[in-house]
């Protein structure tokens, strides 16, 4: 008896869903869309990086990589890098480059000294604490996920 009623309801539901009229769009939708379309689009560089063209993303990544490499090399061997740079420029650039290289050498020497004396000895402890905190957070999140959410977040 129950099953028969259930079958009837199933059929009635199928019928009702099939005949259900589609909801109409609100009157505000069209003006909203047209107003948004009328606004000038932001230039590509003002949009979020993730929405850039893949080619531009690649070029920008390579640019950042080159800049970081240059800074890294300038940090390690400033004289060599500035000698390379000045080789491509006018004669005055050579004087300027050697002055800059000398200044950068002094700065890196001071920073290296600071690192060796002040930061270096505690860096390993800071790194160990950060690693421990990160692992503890990961373990806590896994426990919460398994116990409270039943592993729902990983499905």
């Amino acid at each position: 008896m129950t099953s028969m009623r259930d079958d009837e309801l199933d059929r009635a539901l199928d019928r009702s869903l099939a005949q259900l009229p589609a909801p109409r769009a609100p009157r505000t939708l069209l003006p909203r869309v047209m107003a948004a379309v009328a606004q000038p689009a932001a230039p590509w560089y003002a949009r979020p990086w993730l929405s850039w063209h893949p080619g531009l993303q690649t070029v920008s990544l390579l640019g950042v990589l080159a800049a970081v490499s240059l800074v890294w090399m300038a940090w390690a061997r400033p004289e060599a890098v500035f000698a390379q740079v000045s080789a491509f420029g006018p004669p005055q650039a050579s004087t300027w480059a050697s002055a800059v290289a000398s200044r950068v050498s002094q700065i890196t020497a001071v920073v290296s000294l600071l690192w060796d004396v002040v930061l270096g000895p505690i860096a390993i402890f800071v790194f160990a604490v950060a690693l421990f905190v990160a692992l503890a957070c990961a373990a806590a999140w896994t426990a919460v996920s398994r116990v409270a959410l039943g592993g729902a977040d990983s499905q």
């Binding site: 009635a12 589609a22 769009a25 609100p26 939708l29 069209l30 047209m34 977040d153």
Partner: protein, 176 residues
């Protein structure tokens, strides 16, 4: 200017279809309007190629579905959490009663029957409404839905079954 007029005609032609898909998937009129606006902005970006294509409605539906699922993704953990809760202990306590009560708010005449069902459908929890809408209104197979949502086939069947049970309860209340 002519482009704008043509695009306006395009929006007029498909706005009901896009909005209907969105509101049934996200279950919330204001979120659905936001999604529909984004869909048409995407359509505008490629209006030149889309305008005369017979596949335009299909493209719009696909984009709408994907944007709705993206919109719901931020609630995904909660969605699956409640789904798991339900599978462990039957229906969420009081949910069916609330659904029936919400559907009963509309006066009970011929015209309101569809509204009651629509309201009940939109009142279903996300994890039941989304697969049910994809199955009944977007003509997707169980397997396609499972692939789209990244869940198992069994879960899709169970969620659709539970969603239908809730809607049948609303229909049953009406016919009693």
């Amino acid at each position: 200017m002519a482009d704008a007029a043509r695009f306006e005609a395009f929006v007029r032609e498909f706005e009901d279809m896009v909005y209907a898909t969105a509101v049934r998937l996200v279950g919330n009129p204001s979120d659905a309007e936001d999604v529909a606006q984004t869909v048409f902005l995407r359509a505008f970006e490629r209006f030149g190629t889309l305008e005369h294509q017979p596949a335009a409605p299909g493209w719009l539906k696909t984009v709408t579905t994907n944007l709705c699922l993206n919109h719901l993704t931020r609630y995904r953990a909660r969605w699956q959490f409640f789904s798991e809760l339900e599978s462990g202990s039957g229906a969420v306590p009081g949910f069916i009663d609330r659904l029936t009560a919400a559907a009963a708010v509309v006066p009970d005449d011929e015209h309101s029957e569809a509204e009651r069902l629509e309201r009940a459908l939109q009142g279903l929890p996300d994890h039941q409404r989304v697969p049910l809408v994809l199955f009944h209104f977007e003509d997707r197979s169980y397997q396609e839905i499972a692939d789209l949502l990244g869940v198992s086939l069994g879960k899709v069947k169970t969620d659709i079954h539970r969603g239908r049970d809730a809607l049948k309860r609303v229909l049953g209340e009406r016919t009693r």
